[in-house]
């Protein structure tokens, strides 16, 4: 029996192409031996990737971004952990509104946050723009992500585990380090990766709040003004794309593998 052509399959294929097609063109052009990102392709080359090693300003920007992303990941996770604990463990008065309020940066356009922070930092506090101000801005937008990742992990386990730990003589602090933290570890790792990726890829806030040093996305943007730098930018973009994808997938796998099972007290 000839199989009837399924419209849903067509829809799915178009959907995927729409989502990933433009992004996947980037590595294609990065490997193209030509200055302009146009078809037809002129030939295969890796010189765009090879020349990156010699580009010191780009490597400096990369190092800057990694430094910021690591500190932002750690700081946002450390700050999000107590909030996630409070919201999952205790019936806080006004817990619901507090949670929605803390999730707000998720939906505020980052340009609004960027402009607002710029005004506050320069006009009210009179602090000079630097990598510190970029990191602070990134922590602000990372906390809601870290919190939701941690909360989904913390919500999963039996509340009597912590009661049992306290019953067996552990103070709240000991219970956290001996029980809660090890059990939440997959969530913590996933939160760290999440914070790293968000900070590393973030452009708008970094653009507004940075001083003289550039993060990698800001450096990329500055290079776009020079048409002959385009292939190099595409090569760098391709690497960031692959790196980000690997990290996000890793974060998801760690979170899913650590997901609590339906068996209470089990995981």
């Amino acid at each position: 029996m000839p199989k009837k052509f399924d419209m849903l399959w067509l829809y799915a294929i178009i959907f995927i192409m729409f989502l990933y097609g433009p992004v996947l063109l980037m590595p294609v052009f990065a490997l193209n031996d030509g200055t302009f990102a146009t078809f037809p392709l002129k030939g295969f080359t890796v010189k765009n990737f090879a020349s990156m090693a010699a580009n010191t300003s780009m490597i400096l920007a990369f190092q800057t971004s990694v430094k910021i992303a690591v500190s932002v990941a750690v700081l946002s996770t450390v700050l999000a952990m107590p909030a996630a604990l409070a919201l999952t463990r205790y019936r806080l008065p006004g817990g619901g509104p507090i949670q929605s309020f803390m999730m707000l940066p998720l939906v505020i356009p980052s340009i609004v946050i960027g402009v607002a922070l710029l005004v506050i930092i320069l006009k009210i506090f009179g602090i000079q723009l630097s990598l510190w101000t970029v990191a602070a801005g990134h922590v602000l937008i990372c906390i809601p992500f870290c919190m939701s990742v941690l909360m989904s992990r913390l919500e999963g386990f039996d509340p009597s585990l912590e009661e049992a730990s306290s019953d067996l003589g552990c103070s709240a602090w000991q219970t956290f380090w001996r029980l809660t933290f090890p059990l939440a570890l997959p969530g913590v790792i996933s939160s760290l990766l999440m914070g790293f990726i968000i900070s590393f890829d973030e452009f708008v806030i970094a653009f507004f709040l940075t001083g003289t040093e550039n993060t990698l996305p800001v450096y990329l943007f500055s290079q776009l003004r020079f048409p002959n730098k385009l292939p190099g930018v595409l090569a760098l973009g391709s690497l960031i794309l692959v790196g980000s994808a690997v990290l996000v997938i890793a974060a998801e796998i760690i979170r899913k593998r650590g997901a609590p099972s339906s068996n209470p007290g089990d995981y």
Binding site: S165, S166, D167, G169, G265
Partner: protein, 363 residues
């Protein structure tokens, strides 16, 4: 500290959650080395009371002493109690040995002794050979043993057990009941056991507190509760009880007379606190009743009726006998010794009892 002082003293304990009062006026003591059960239906406050003993919840009012020490403001981790949770709360990231040794890290004892005590506890609950097993590789019964060992290894003055057997199947549960009782005799620690299963409470306990609606209805030995329930609610809660309603006349000397109208008047031992002239009941257990074919020489005070229902259980036969002038049929349980206790449905019978077999109690 004098050793005859009760290990737990509760006075005027009250617990409120918001505007809801879940425990009223709790006043009793638990003796050293006792196996004490809190028995009641779900929502009666028994688990809340246990959590107050553990220090997980704080009472809204009243005083709690453990081993003579006031427990107000003492958190769970500083109390001489340990708890076996209903869900067992086995730490999923640790193996059996590490689970059992968890509390010992907080005791000021040398490492070798801690190791020896863990090994001892593993042997005590018969988990030999499973020391390095992971939590998720354990069966329900094994988890229960780990929870028990983990709580006992800290040598608490009181062990609190929150329905520890309710998640096990019937056969395993009966096995664990016997083991639990033997264990309690071995270690000699006071056990406070929460259950909704009256049979379990009767089997295990030295004394039982019956709870309902946040109050303690009666505290007595299993025999005392079964034979001399304080009032109608306790009588109906523990086992099956036939109740003949009537008016009480106190005869003094622990005896009373119940005027049950058309059924007649009965003399029987009375529980304390049955007021003269008040409404009361003659309470008769099904196994204290004797059935005989009607028409023979009926014993004085016997009731006549008809067999309304019969259930053959093998070792026993349960009958429902409907008696005129009594709203609900009488439950009668007889031993299946020979054919003399076989009655057909609808057969006229007399129901008799020894005078000491009944008890007169209030509402």
């Amino acid at each position: 500290m004098s050793s005859d002082r009760p290990i737990i003293e509760l006075s005027d304990i009250e617990k409120r959650f918001g505007s809801l009062t879940v425990l009223h006026d709790i006043n009793f003591d638990i003796g050293r080395g006792e196996f004490f059960s809190l028995l009641g239906a779900s929502g009666c406050g028994k688990t809340t009371l246990l959590r107050i003993l553990a220090g997980i919840e704080q009472p809204s009012e009243g005083k709690l002493l453990i081993d003579g020490q006031p427990m107000a403001g003492v958190p769970a981790n500083r109390r001489p109690t340990n708890m076996v949770f209903q869900s067992y709360a086995i730490f999923p990231h640790l193996n059996v040995e590490e689970n059992i040794g968890y509390g010992l890290r907080n005791c000021p004892i040398p490492k070798e002794e801690a190791r020896a005590r863990v090994a001892e506890a593993i042997a005590l609950v018969k988990l030999d050979g499973l020391a390095t097993r992971n939590a998720h590789q354990l069966s329900g019964g094994q988890r229960q043993r780990v929870a028990l060992a983990r709580a006992l290894v800290c040598r608490p003055k009181v062990l609190l057990l929150d329905e520890p057997l309710s998640a096990l199947d019937k056969k395993l549960r009966e096995e664990m009941q016997l083991e639990l009782r033997a264990l309690q005799r071995t270690v000699g620690i006071t056990f406070v056991f929460v259950t909704h299963d009256q049979e379990e409470a009767l089997t295990l306990s030295d004394r039982i507190a019956i709870m309902a609606g946040g109050r303690v209805l009666q505290i007595d030995s299993p025999r005392g509760l079964y034979e001399r329930p304080a009032n109608r609610r306790v009588a109906e809660f523990v086992g099956t009880m036939n109740l003949l309603p009537g008016k009480v006349k106190n005869l003094g000397g622990g005896r009373a007379r119940l005027d049950a109208g058309a059924l007649g008047a009965f003399e029987a031992p009375a529980v304390s606190g049955v007021a003269d002239g008040s409404a009361g009941f003659l309470a008769l257990r099904p196994e204290k009743l004797v059935l005989a074919a009607a028409g023979g020489k009926a014993k004085p005070g016997a009731l006549t009726g008809r067999v309304a229902e019969a259930a053959y259980l093998g070792d026993r036969i349960h009958y429902q006998v409907s008696v005129d002038a009594l709203g609900t049929p009488l439950a009668v349980s007889v031993n299946n010794v020979d054919g003399s206790t076989d009655f057909a449905l609808g057969a006229p019978v007399t129901v008799g009892w020894a005078e000491a077999g009944g008890v007169i109690l209030g509402d």
